[in-house]
């Protein structure tokens, strides 16, 4: 084995290692020190996580619903903004870009803490809408960025070509721009969903315990709770995130595998 392959394998192992104890703990029933491998498989933790009274499923759905709404709003406002920023000559272009992308750097908690009392007054706390609103700022820049890159890699003349063939504005968007945009946008959509999904502190502050997303539901189990249940929850959480990525990414990949031309720009 060559040296670099060895390093790579080592690095790969280091990245995979942290999943191992969570898997062991969640299937082990009681996992007492110093046993490394528990005696036999015990589904106690998983049963408890998915028992109807645990409300896990509804929390997963709520989390996904919020992430979905956040992403749809991001797409609706982000695509036109990215289009204008890349295709039109705007005054204050770089200023607008800086304003729209700034939330990437600034902790979301800072803005949410600032706006909390105003939300309280407007009756937006303890509501799903309030939570959706505070998930927008940290995720929107990624959608805008992804859309901008897609627009930049798209030759404007292709649009002209469609125009000359009689395609109206909406036809051009649907038949030419969107098919080109989708692969690049996937990265933005995945990030937007993941960011919304993994928010904890801002959801806690604005949802005030009434909007129970998956993290809000399980974090109490992590602080000194039963490791088996904590492990099961974190694995469920990771699985939801992973499934989301694989579904969006993989679905698109297989779609474009047959229509390979579109793939060149985005892999």
């Amino acid at each position: 084995m060559r040296r670099s392959s060895f390093y790579l394998l080592l690095i790969g192992l280091i990245f995979a290692l942290p999943f191992v104890p969570a898997l062991i703990a969640s299937f082990g029933g009681v996992w007492r020190f110093p046993t490394i491998i528990p005696d036999g498989i015990n589904l106690r933790a998983w049963e408890s996580v998915f028992s109807p009274s645990s409300r896990t499923l509804s929390a997963i759905f709520l989390s996904l619903w919020i992430a979905f709404c956040v992403t749809v709003i991001n797409l609706m406002v982000g695509i036109p903004a990215a289009y204008a920023l890349t295709r039109k000559k705007l005054r204050f272009q770089s200023g607008i870009e800086a304003v729209l992308l700034a939330p990437i750097f600034v902790p979301a908690l800072a803005a949410v803490m600032g706006i909390h009392l105003t939300f309280l007054r407007l009756g937006l706390t303890e509501t799903v809408i309030g939570v959706i609103l505070v998930h927008l700022a940290p995720s929107m820049p990624y959608v805008i960025r992804a859309a901008m890159i897609s627009f930049q890699t798209m030759n404007e003349e292709a649009e002209d070509a469609a125009k000359m063939l009689g395609a109206t504005k909406s036809q051009r968007f649907y038949h030419v721009i969107l098919p080109h945009l989708i692969p690049g946008l996937t990265a933005g959509v995945v990030l937007s969903m993941l960011i919304s999904l993994s928010q904890y502190s801002v959801t806690l502050l604005i949802g005030a315990g009434q909007v129970i997303t998956l993290p809000i539901l399980f974090v109490p189990f992590l602080n000194g709770g039963d490791p088996a249940i904590g492990s099961a929850y974190t694995l469920v959480f990771s699985a939801v995130a992973l499934a989301l990525v694989l579904l969006l990414d993989g679905g698109l990949r297989s779609y474009y595998a047959t229509r390979k031309g579109g793939c060149h720009e985005w892999i």
């Binding site: 002209d160 469609a162 125009k163 063939l165 395609a167 038949h175």
Partner: protein, 339 residues
């Protein structure tokens, strides 16, 4: 019948570039080329005609109907670009049928039509493939088919062959010429390639620094360039200062009688290198001999003036530097140009 008319069309991009008001009338079925060096404004003019950019002033008419403010998608034109710009997510047939689909032609009909046009451009049977499976030259053919399938009233070509390698380029030019002869579609082509312009065009509009400087059929354009700059662009190398006095033209090599009336004064006499013969009354000395692919270029000094001669005859092949020879200059239809 005048097919297409451009009236005083102008466009400026700040101080960097200005297209002077351009007027040009194109007959129905005519193939007109906008020829000029890069940056002369030919592509801008084409895009104005296409409606892809809005003019600062002027109008365009088709069959007497004003089109200036009609959006390009409603003009029923077609355009080929330097790059094929095929839509990567559609098959070749879908690409070709795109314009028909935009016009709500039924699927079966438009795909059938697409296959027909694909056959016309020599790509019969390629319909089910995707663009990435085709070579650059084939893609450009598809692009041509896509433009033709909508039966455009005006076909616009924006340097469509300049990205192709020389052999493919010639093949495509032949195809376009054939297609033009068969369909009779009015065509405006933009190019910086003179060979291409001369081969394809019924008429050439020569453009320099944002202006159309001469419009003529290829033969006339080459035989009688309108200005010194045009002559230089077309490759003239011999410019001899002459003087016109009444009806005679005084040159360093003798005096000629003017066949048409011409104003007295100083001129430059532009002599095509091919028009000089290697037999004649003028004594000269060979200063330089360079062998090119299709001709031999000889620089001959006559009366203190260097003249470039292009020939591929046996006597031209025998010439060596330092030889004393005689040459003959053309003595009618002299091209006299103001400084």
């Amino acid at each position: 019948m005048s097919g297409f008319e451009i009236k005083n069309l102008s466009k400026s991009y700040g101080e960097d570039f200005t297209l002077a008001p351009v007027s040009l009338t194109i007959q129905s079925g005519e193939f007109v080329t906008l020829l000029g060096p890069s940056g002369c404004g030919k592509t801008t003019l084409l895009k104005l005609v296409a409606g892809l950019i809005a003019p600062d002033g002027g109008e365009v008419y088709q069959q007497g109907k004003e089109l200036t403010s009609v959006p390009s998608e409603n003009r029923q034109f077609a355009m080929m670009f330097q790059q094929p710009h095929l839509f990567p997510h559609m098959t070749i047939a879908e690409n070709v049928a795109f314009g028909l689909r935009m016009r709500k032609v039924a699927k079966k009909e438009r795909l059938k039509k697409a296959e027909e046009v694909l056959a016309e451009v020599g790509l019969g049977g390629y319909g089910k493939r995707y663009p990435y499976e085709l070579s650059g030259g084939q893609q450009q053919r598809v692009s041509l088919a896509r433009a033709l399938v909508i039966e455009p009233t005006l076909l616009l070509l924006d340097e469509p062959f300049s990205a192709l390698d020389p052999l493919l380029k010639v093949e495509m030019q032949q195809l376009v010429k054939t297609v033009h002869q068969q369909t009779g579609v009015t065509t405006i082509c933009v190019t910086h390639d003179q060979e291409e312009a001369f081969y394809l065009s019924d008429r050439i509009a020569l453009m320099q620094t944002g202006e159309v400087v001469q419009v003529a059929d290829p033969q006339t354009l080459y035989r009688s360039p309108a200005t010194l700059a045009v002559a230089k662009f077309l490759g003239y190398k011999n410019f001899i200062p002459v003087k016109v006095e009444q009806d005679s033209i005084v040159t360093p090599f003798g005096t000629y009688a003017a066949t048409i009336s011409i104003e007295s004064g100083k001129y430059q006499w532009a002599i095509p290198s091919e028009a000089i013969s290697l037999k004649g009354s003028l004594q000269g000395l060979v200063n330089e001999v360079v062998h090119h692919k299709g001709y031999i270029e000889t620089v001959v000094e006559v009366e203190g003036h260097e003249l470039t001669v292009r020939k591929l005859t046996p006597d031209a092949q025998a010439l060596r530097v330092g030889d004393s020879i005689t040459i003959g200059l053309p003595d009618e239809d002299l091209v006299l140009l103001r400084e």
